[in-house]
């Protein structure tokens, strides 16, 4: 039963490795847009520190959003997706494998890069660990929610912008709790509350999203 899960996970990671240039893109995007902030706003450390938690989270969200568009696209175009739908394996697990691969390729590097960018934006010391922890869980939620949108728009020719439109409202709770975690830590409050909510959001999306994505993919293939 689990054969499909590991087969897809390994294949997607191998494919990502073969296209190393492409998988670096979200991370570079994250890097560049964060660099734009001091240029557009102010180089003053105290003011940057004030907005750093929110900026880092919003930019990580956008980077994840941009990359999720391709989640099912190549599988759709070369006919693999059709085959996956008729493979005697549970679609739920196969979708989960694809999302996990996506998270390992984008969410995890974004999370690891975030402290460096935090330093560049003069994020106060207390914020680093909460930043990493909240992004670690939050990017996984973003990948899971994004997968639903990617599944719904994979068969459409100009799905990219539409994908952002339908997915971003669903991203808002993650953003709120993610950015608040960091902000509260910087302000000296305990963060276990928002982090626990983050964990709950992750558990909930793990439960719901693969089902919805599987349904979305079936709709896309019927269309």
């Amino acid at each position: 039963m689990g054969g499909g899960f590991s087969a897809i996970l390994q294949r997607d990671l191998l494919l990502a490795f073969r296209h190393r240039g492409e998988i670096a893109n979200p991370v570079i995007f994250f890097f560049i847009v964060v660099t734009l902030i001091p240029l557009g706003l102010t180089p003053e450390a105290s003011r940057l520190a004030e907005i750093a938690p929110g900026i880092l989270w919003v930019m990580a969200l956008l980077a994840s959003l941009l990359s999720v568009e391709g989640l099912f696209q190549s599988d759709y175009r070369d006919g693999t997706l059709e085959q996956l739908l008729i493979t005697p394996q549970p679609l739920y697990l196969m979708v989960l494998a694809k999302v996990l691969a996506h998270w390992l390729i984008t969410g995890l590097p974004l999370t690891l890069l975030a402290p460096v960018l935090g330093m560049m934006l003069s994020l106060p010391t207390a914020g680093y660990l909460p930043l990493v922890l909240s992004l670690l869980m939050g990017t996984a939620v973003l990948s899971l929610i994004g997968a639903i949108g990617a599944g719904l728009t994979v068969a459409l020719r100009k799905g990219g912008l539409l994908l952002s439109l339908i997915v971003m409202p669903l991203y808002m709770p993650v953003l709120i709790f993610g950015a608040s975690t960091v902000q509260r830590a910087v302000d000296g409050f305990p963060v276990d509350g928002p982090l626990a909510v983050m964990g709950a959001l992750l558990a909930f999306s793990l439960l719901i999203s693969p089902f919805a994505t599987a349904g979305a993919l079936r709709v896309s293939m019927h269309g």
């Binding site: 499909g4 087969a7 294949r11 191998l14 296209h19 693999t80 739908l85 005697p88």
Partner: protein, 213 residues
Amino acid sequence: MSSQAAIFSLKSLAFERDDRLLFSGISVALEPGDILQVEGPNGCGKTTLLRIISTALNPTSGTLFWRGKDISQHRQDYLQNLLFLGHLPGLKQSLSPEENLQWWRRLNANNSLLSNEEVLASMGLRGYEDVPCFTLSAGQQRRAALARLLITEAPLWVLDEPFTAIDKQGVAQLEVLLKDHVKKGGVVILSTHQDLGIDGIRRLSLPLLAEVS
């Protein structure tokens, strides 16, 4: 009584999309050793029919039976016995033919004992096992996709235009493959414009529109 011997059958299958009836009243019973050629002009629903048979699409009405069991109730069991090759080859371009085959093996049960190397060699791809698929020609890619026929033990083959892009020699080779498969008691359903050099082939001509009440 013929339905007793039938291994795979369709009962009054109909498909409608956006209030347009594509076909209806398709009933076929296939016995082990049958080859069914679905034919008809472009846009008549050949691909749709094959996708319904592969369960990628649900029919508007009608039932499919595998070994007497309703497929909608026993989908997983049915899928273990099915090999479907669609229009698109389903090959990952940056993986080699060998890696693609290996991946299919891991995804499906019912694999044959032949090694990937043997399979690719008999498909005329010796020496191309380890190059990425995007360096292969269209015909070679089709051959790499067709290599899946050799790694599966599934008795039911559903092939959508399998002869596209391959040369004469490849066509003959594929015909041999099909004959061998049905000789072993398999069943083949395929769509093609080509006249096959196989005796006793059964034909289904679309469009088929039964009366609608």
